[in-house]
């Protein structure tokens, strides 16, 4: 693969296992950071720049995650940034670190995200917040996140004839992948029948179609290519990072909105928001979906994983059900998706999640994903989307 000139290396990757541990998120972040540094063969004091992914659930220290992790690791004078983009937080943190490396402002950057989550539905910030659409969607509609997932799932059924069984197949596949992942929270196979018999949360989605909320932490050590080549002969590189926003008018209802944009008087963009997310990473890297060996996609629900197959170009609209039915996206298939086990096996630890996708792709491209290795993987895509219109996609290659 030819270098585009915009590449940085992932020299180290580390995670704190996902679970419902109930401890301070800083602990998971520090654990993941130390694991990533050990993996890179570097010391914390070698890090020149720290990018922290903010969490909205852990109060003041969570909002200033970069400094919080830096303090916990021991003040070293490193430069720092903190980012927030909901589920896309980690991609933004990676992007900030990448930009500093590419600008020549540093050689070694540490990117960390971690979260501690409450039990049950994610809820908005408390108080009486009549100006906050996230607060209002709960107040006026009771529109939880699974409500939006349910709307997308039903739309797939209406447009393409998707079935509850198709959705369940995604869970069965991802649960099987996750069984061997030591960082996964759920490491147990489930059957189609178990998924379909689990309680309906937001029709047509069952409990086992919807990802849990988890505690976890993930970190990567990013370096310049020149620095990486002094430490390894075969660096994994980040060749594309997309943090795109939608183009007006965005005609698909997005969390936490009450309505889509209006398409009156303005031509629709050439690509929908979800289609544009991975496209940004492909274009930077100079590759396309046909070059992929694997993909990590954001399976907040099983039905959403099917949407992503189409949005990232693995198949045409309406063909995703056939892909999962044929096993094309299972390990051993044409294009394995969520070899890590995905959110189905992890649950969502928001600021860590995009970084965790980078960890998985790094291990896959190095051939270190024991028990779930995609043989000979050289190009991998991660894609994700955050509340309020945050795209997140990363293209890794080796």
């Amino acid at each position: 693969m030819s270098a585009t000139g915009f590449e940085v290396a992932v020299l180290g990757a580390g995670m704190h296992p996902w679970g419902k541990w109930g401890r301070n998120f800083v602990e998971y972040g520090v654990h993941a950071a130390r694991a990533a540094l050990a993996d890179a063969g570097l010391a914390w004091t070698d890090v020149q720049f720290v990018a922290g992914g903010d969490t909205v659930r852990n109060g003041y220290p969570g909002y200033v995650a970069g400094a919080t992790f830096a303090q916990a690791l021991g003040w070293s004078g490193a430069q720092v940034a903190s980012t927030y983009g909901a589920c896309a937080t980690g991609a933004q943190a990676v992007d900030v670190a990448r930009a500093r490396i590419l600008a020549g402002l540093c050689d070694v950057a540490l990117v960390v995200g971690a979260d501690t989550t409450p039990k049950g539905f994610f809820a908005p910030t408390g108080g009486e917040r009549q100006q906050d659409p996230d607060w209002l969607r709960f107040r006026l509609l009771g529109a939880t996140n699974p409500v939006y997932f349910g709307l997308y799932a039903r739309r797939r059924m209406a447009l393409y004839g998707a079935t509850v069984e198709d959705f369940a197949r995604v869970k069965v596949k991802n649960a099987r992948h996750g069984v061997v992942n030591p960082n996964a929270r759920y490491r147990k196979e489930v059957s189609l029948e178990e998924v379909m018999a689990s309680p309906v949360v937001s029709d047509p989605l069952r409990l086992l179609d919807i990802c849990a909320t988890s505690d976890g932490g993930a970190a990567v050590v990013l370096t310049s290519m020149a620095f990486a080549r002094r430490h390894t002969t075969r660096p994994v590189t980040i060749a594309g990072v997309s943090t795109v926003t939608p183009q007006y008018p965005n005609t698909v209802i997005e969390m936490p909105n009450f309505a889509t944009d209006s398409a009156v008087g303005v031509a629709l963009p050439d690509v929908s928001f979800r289609d544009s997310i991975a496209r940004g990473a492909y274009e930077q890297a100079g590759v396309g979906p046909e070059d992929l060996d694997l993909a990590e996609v954001y399976d907040l629900s099983t039905a959403l994983e099917l949407d992503w197959y189409e949005n990232v170009g693995l198949c045409k609209p309406g063909e995703a059900e056939a892909l999962v039915r044929d096993g094309a996206t299972a390990l051993g298939g044409r294009i394995p998706v969520n070899a890590s086990g995905g959110l189905a096996s992890f649950g969502e630890a928001v600021p860590a999640q995009a970084i965790a996708q980078v960890c998985e792709l790094t291990w896959q491209l190095r051939g270190q994903a024991a028990g779930r290795q995609v043989e000979g993987a050289r190009v991998g895509l991660a894609v994700n989307q955050g509340l309020f219109g945050h795209g997140s996609s990363l293209l890794l290659k080796v």
Partner: protein, 177 residues
């Protein structure tokens, strides 16, 4: 919770009945010709609509006009998708006790070319919800507390019988930390 501001209620409450208040101020009207309507905005320069209404600057990136006017939106549209909630959402949703599951509809408005969410009117069986079918706007109780009956907009399949009055009073949600 503090009472919401509300335009004049109608119909007038019976003596001794709780006052009727809009659960959110200025998002819908019951005084438009032809029935209740959502209140959105329309840009006088480029014609684009927004809901909830935009008051500051048009969201069309090639417009940016500040000449925005409040307009009632179409009272009916076609069902884009629907789902329901079988478990009580967390506050600030005010869930009844016992919790009554409810459906949520995404309805596509033809004139505005936009999709707007709303709860489905009480008592509509989900078997009556079909993607592509016509839906119309109604206003009914969202929740009741000690002070008032709080009403909001909801979607209902066209031709569906008017829902029965809500069951007994609901308790307000718990305090949040």
């Amino acid at each position: 919770m503090p009472p919401s501001q509300s335009p004049p209620s109608r119909p007038s409450p019976a003596p001794g009945a709780k006052p009727r208040r809009h659960a959110v101020a200025g998002w819908f009207t019951e005084d438009a010709e032809g029935g209740p309507a959502l209140l959105g905005s329309r840009c006088s320069a480029c014609g684009t609509y927004a809901f909830p209404k935009e008051t500051f600057s048009c969201r069309n990136p090639r417009c940016g006009s500040t000449a925005l006017v409040e307009v009632p939106l179409s009272r009916s549209g076609r069902l884009w998708s629907w789902t329901d909630n079988r478990y009580a959402p967390p506050p600030p949703y005010v869930a009844g006790d016992p919790f009554e599951p409810y459906a949520i509809a995404a309805v596509e408005l033809e004139r505005e070319q936009m999709v707007v969410l709303g709860q489905v009117a009480r008592g509509v069986p989900t078997a009556r919800l079909e993607v592509g079918a016509p839906m119309e706007l109604v206003v009914e109780t969202l929740f009741a507390d000690d002070d008032a009956e709080h009403v909001s907009w909801k979607w209902r399949p066209v031709g569906e019988a008017v829902a029965a009055r809500p069951r007994g009073a609901q308790r307000p949600g718990g305090e949040r930390g």
